[in-house]
């Protein structure tokens, strides 16, 4: 039962990241603008990330679903969500009125608390998965 629950959690997280990645893959220019809104990175690097990060999210999501490179996917997603969370807080502290960019236009009107809540829930989810599953896919095969 426990294993089934953790399997459910990583499926939900996987679907969230695949959806988030797919939406951004469809409009990388918009995502580049969203990254630029944070005023952390030069535009050129933001454009590069706008082409790269969505695919990384999709691949990590697929890795969670298919239990391939599982530990690597969890490591990357933990790092990504931690960076998103810090960037969100930093933007708020600096008084920047940013659009989330998490899910393309679907998240354009999200306010700061909603944006931060999503980041924290995802962060908690990937960290819990990391520890709860020991990040060893073979252990979960019977789930």
């Amino acid at each position: 039962m426990k294993k089934f629950l953790w399997r459910l959690v990583d499926l939900v997280i996987a679907v969230i990241f695949i959806y988030a990645g797919a939406v951004k893959v469809l409009d990388p220019v918009q995502f580049a603008n969203d990254i630029d809104n944070y005023k952390i990175l030069p535009w050129t690097i933001g454009v590069g990330l706008a082409f790269y990060l969505p695919w990384l999210e999709i691949f990590c999501g697929l890795a969670l679903i298919f239990r391939l490179l599982y530990r690597g996917a969890l490591s990357i997603l933990t790092a990504l969500v931690a960076i998103f969370t810090i960037a969100t807080i930093a933007a708020k502290v600096r008084g920047l009125d940013i659009t989330c960019g998490c899910f393309g236009h679907a998240s354009q009107n999200w306010n700061f608390p909603a944006h931060l809540a999503l980041d924290l829930v995802l962060l908690a989810g990937v960290i819990l998965l990391f520890y709860a599953t020991g990040a060893k896919p073979r252990d979960l095969k019977g789930a």
């Binding site: 893959v25 409009d27 990388p28 220019v29 918009q30 580049a32 603008n33 630029d36 809104n37 005023k39 535009w43 050129t44 454009v47 590069g48 082409f51 790269y52 969505p54 695919w55 990384l56 999709i58 691949f59 990590c60 890795a63 490179l69 599982y70 530990r71 690597g72 996917a73 490591s75 990357i76 940013i98 659009t99 354009q108 009107n109």
Partner: protein, 136 residues
């Protein structure tokens, strides 16, 4: 670590492919290509051939705005876009502004007008509302 590197490398392949595919649709040098930026003086010279679009929030638009400007912000996009389109005509140039040089709203609205509404002649006002006030 090895698994993470493999995933990172795998994601690079479609990412690079997409960057090549989009090479003509995004500038790697600046958020807005110089050809899509307009100064207050240039925009004023267009006179009646330009439609001014205020991308700031409603309350800022209500406080003051460029005479004749239409409000079109992302908070009420679906509501305001039809009103804007009713006033737009193909020969007119669209000049979008937000509060200052560092704001993003004008850029976002310009992006959506070009990509979603498929409108040509969309320009972002350099320096935004602050610059317009200085040149008033």
């Amino acid at each position: 670590m090895r698994q993470a590197l493999i995933l990172a490398a795998l994601a690079l392949v479609p990412g690079l492919g997409q960057a090549v595919y989009f090479r003509d649709r995004v500038s790697w040098r600046s958020p807005i290509p110089a050809s899509e930026m307009i100064t207050v003086t240039q925009a004023r010279a267009w006179g009646g051939n330009a439609i001014w679009v205020d991308a700031r929030p409603d309350e800022e638009f209500a406080r003051d705005h460029v005479p004749g400007a239409l409000s079109l912000n992302e908070d009420r996009w679906n509501e305001l876009l039809p009103q804007f389109l009713a006033a737009w005509s193909p020969e007119k140039k669209i000049v979008i502004y937000c509060s200052s040089q560092s704001c993003n709203a004008s850029r976002e609205v310009a992006h959506r007008l070009r990509n979603e509404a498929q409108l040509p002649n969309v320009f972002v006002l350099k320096g935004g509302w602050e610059e317009w006030l200085r040149n008033r």
